[in-house]
Symmetry: C2
Subunit: 456 residues, 2 copies
């Protein structure tokens, strides 16, 4: 109701009427159910698109089969694999510049901007361009994640559908948030995390009128994605299956607090380094294609460097395989874990600065798992008899890094639980997340989402 | 640091000065840690006090041993057991009327009133009187729960401690919420539920400055209570241990939606019947002691009636044993489940109307488990081959009833998960809770907490 009637037709042609319609809650909930179905399909298509592009560009094979949690084999291109992210990046830059400039970057700030400054309007073309661009970025090895894109894609579905029906601003934002939550839930099999993300990050106000549609969309998309992709949690934590021996492990709590504090600093570094890279590339006196060649060339070199050292590309693409390897307890050398952390911090910031399209959530998980594991290694030296292990602190680090970087503390806690199904560490996890948010906010008031809005 | 430095010495002198002090976040967090310790001790003492009173008044033995999840034996008093809640109630009425009128009722509305209309001030005497009065009510068989009292007790600790230190209003409310969350977490072993309750129901605004202290208190109290009371979840759901066979069970989802809708109606009925009983008893032209004799006499008769029928007192006291029996799959007769639901609805409303001191959360769990189970029985008749079971819908009903009655949807979902550790049903649970909140709100805008505030 706050917009002028003239602004409506400009959005999409079919919504020609100047009037806005207020739907009843049952109808809105049913519409959200449809958004959930579409968002789930979007998430599934997006996932297979990434797999297809990854297989084609890295191995020259046509296949939709890809297990991102397992390390892939070495590419047959040898050192020329460095060209893959460069060439992929050039197509991404072309797509984004030509069709939808708002598809650049990691996605969530653009959605937040649309909610707070553009009446909840996210263009329909964004869903298409973002899917293609992000699948290309991720598939060719840019160090970015799938959640930012799927949030933007889901938002685009919800917002476009609402605009098509001539909805009021507040109901449009509700369907937008429903689409975003549904996208996350379908991608990570985290129904509660999807709801909480919509509630904590996107919705300006939470009530039955907003909550019920979001839940309908999220539950629907979870079911559809489970049907196609399976019920397994995103990660498996073998140590979590062991029974808890002690009720209270004080050294564990102390090390978890240290992980939380370290993640607060790491989140601050991530916000600042990403901001620096985005500004630095933008101010380069060369055209965006050349900027991208430089940036993605560096990322490719880093990946190839890690291949020579650890046998895997590690910091390239979503990085789930590295995370799973830390959670399996296969990575326990302090120096390696720290190198992975710093490598990912740089690779992600450079990728996004150079124009890649993809999210910061998976990179945050990667940084959290590696730095959390590294702090865990130190903790095991300080408390050698306390029955500590690296994977536990990697999980705690994942939650703390996501919470610290995004400020969405409850979403981080619940999503990490849902991704790992490790309830045994809930208390140290909650504590570490709260500390990480506190430390990061003491160092920089903006988080990884809002820093981009502040600079507009 | 916005206050004048002169206000510092005032800390020790019990809040006589008009100046208020603003503490730094680390100091506030440390103070919340202390509140968490005290709240945990309060919860533990409260639990043992209930056990002691219950053993003494029902069986004439001196013992702190009581497993509320198992049915107790028949009282040796025979039919005279009806006198136990009456005599206990008389002492409760005396305590409340003499020392702290705000300790009457189910606790949370009083805390909300203190936050929004009384600058976050909850008197210290409330903690003592509420502990004694509620332990007496619950121990002698009034149909009320432990969570309302422990919220009020924890709030009283936090608020009194903050007042003693001369804190500002907003920091006082933060410590109050920290005490309440810590009390819940310690009572039910639900760390995340405690945090969410404070965030969703109590805190007027959520930020690092409020979140971190709440988390510190809640984590601390969880640890202390686990140390003393054990790490077990509040309830055990045997069917939850079975592996999930199907990814999507559409009949399960349909029945869950029916459970959600039924719980919305049930929550409406609970809000209205409780309101009616509270008004009705208050307007009786007799003194409060006589009111109590009538009310608790009815509750005692209902308990004795159930003893004759099912062999257990069922609707009296917290009712965990009945809930656990439904979750074990021992209660599968539609008529019995419905009788338990209506019995509890009446027993709780009459208990609170007649002046008992105790919460509505455990009764909500009871009503949710029984009515949810009853709907499940009907669902199994409609879908005989869908592999459904009663305990699953009992758990879903518990969450939906708590969410529907309190409006705190996320708290309900997370607490029910933490109390049962049954993640397999998270999607139907989320859906049912959202539906229950929606249906209840369509029928009555106030929830079980706010209806009392509206009538002030």
């Amino acid at each position: 109701m706050t917009t002028s009637p003239e602004s409506l037709p400009s959005a999409v042609a079919p919504a020609a009427e100047p009037q806005e319609r207020e739907f009843s809650l049952p109808v809105l909930t049913f519409l959200a159910f449809i958004v959930g179905c579409v968002a789930a399909l979007g998430a599934i298509i997006f996932k297979f698109l990434i797999a297809f592009i990854s297989n084609l560009t890295n191995y020259g094979i046509f296949s939709f089969e890809l297990n991102p949690n397992a390390y892939g084999p070495e590419s047959p291109w040898g050192p020329f694999v460095i060209l893959v992210p460069i060439l992929g990046g050039l197509v991404v830059v072309f797509l984004v510049r030509t069709f939808a400039p708002e598809a650049k970057g990691h996605g969530v700030p653009e959605v937040m901007y649309a909610i707070y400054h553009n009446d909840g309007n996210v263009r329909g073309i964004v869903a298409v361009v973002k899917s293609l661009a992000s699948a290309l970025s991720i598939g060719t090895g840019a160090s970015v994640g799938r959640e930012g894109p799927i949030i933007q894609i889901g938002s685009s579905f919800g917002s476009t559908f609402a605009r098509y029906l001539g909805m009021t601003r507040s109901q449009k934002i509700t369907l937008l948030a429903a689409g975003a939550g549904a996208g996350i839930a379908a991608t990570f099999n985290t129904p509660l995390g999807g709801v909480l993300f919509a509630v904590e990050v996107l919705l300006p106000e939470v009530s039955t009128r907003t909550f019920l549609p979001v839940v309908a969309a999220t539950a629907t998309s979870t079911y559809i994605s489970r049907l196609v992709l399976g019920v397994e949690s995103a990660f498996v934590v073998p140590v979590a299956a062991l029974p808890q021996i002690e009720t209270v492990n004080i050294p564990e709590l102390v090390v978890a607090a240290a992980v939380g504090a370290a993640m607060g600093v790491a989140a601050w570094a991530f916000v600042r380094v990403l901001e620096f890279c985005e500004d630095y590339f933008e101010e380069m006196p060369i055209n965006p294609y050349l900027q991208n060649v430089i940036g993605m060339g560096i990322v490719g070199l880093m990946g190839y460097g890690f291949l020579q050292w650890t046998g895997h590309y590690e910091v390239m693409s979503v990085g789930y395989a590295t995370i799973q390897s830390v959670l399996n307890g296969d990575k326990t050398v302090f120096f390696v874990l720290m190198a992975l952390f710093f490598g990912k911090l740089l690779a992600t910031s450079i990728s996004l600065g150079a124009g890649a399209s993809g999210g910061i959530f998976s990179p945050s998980l990667f940084m959290g798992a590696t730095l959390g594991g590294a702090v865990g290694v130190l903790g095991m030296m300080v408390f050698p008899n306390a029955n500590l292990d690296v994977p536990t602190f990697a999980v705690i680090g994942m939650g703390a890094m996501v919470g610290g970087a995004t400020s969405a503390a409850m979403t981080a806690i619940v999503m990490i639980f849902e991704m790992t199904r490790d309830y045994g560490i809930i208390v140290p996890l909650v504590l570490a997340v709260a500390l990480a948010v506190g430390v990061r906010r003491a160092l920089v008031s903006s988080d990884i989402y809002t820093i981009k809005l502040r600079n507009r």
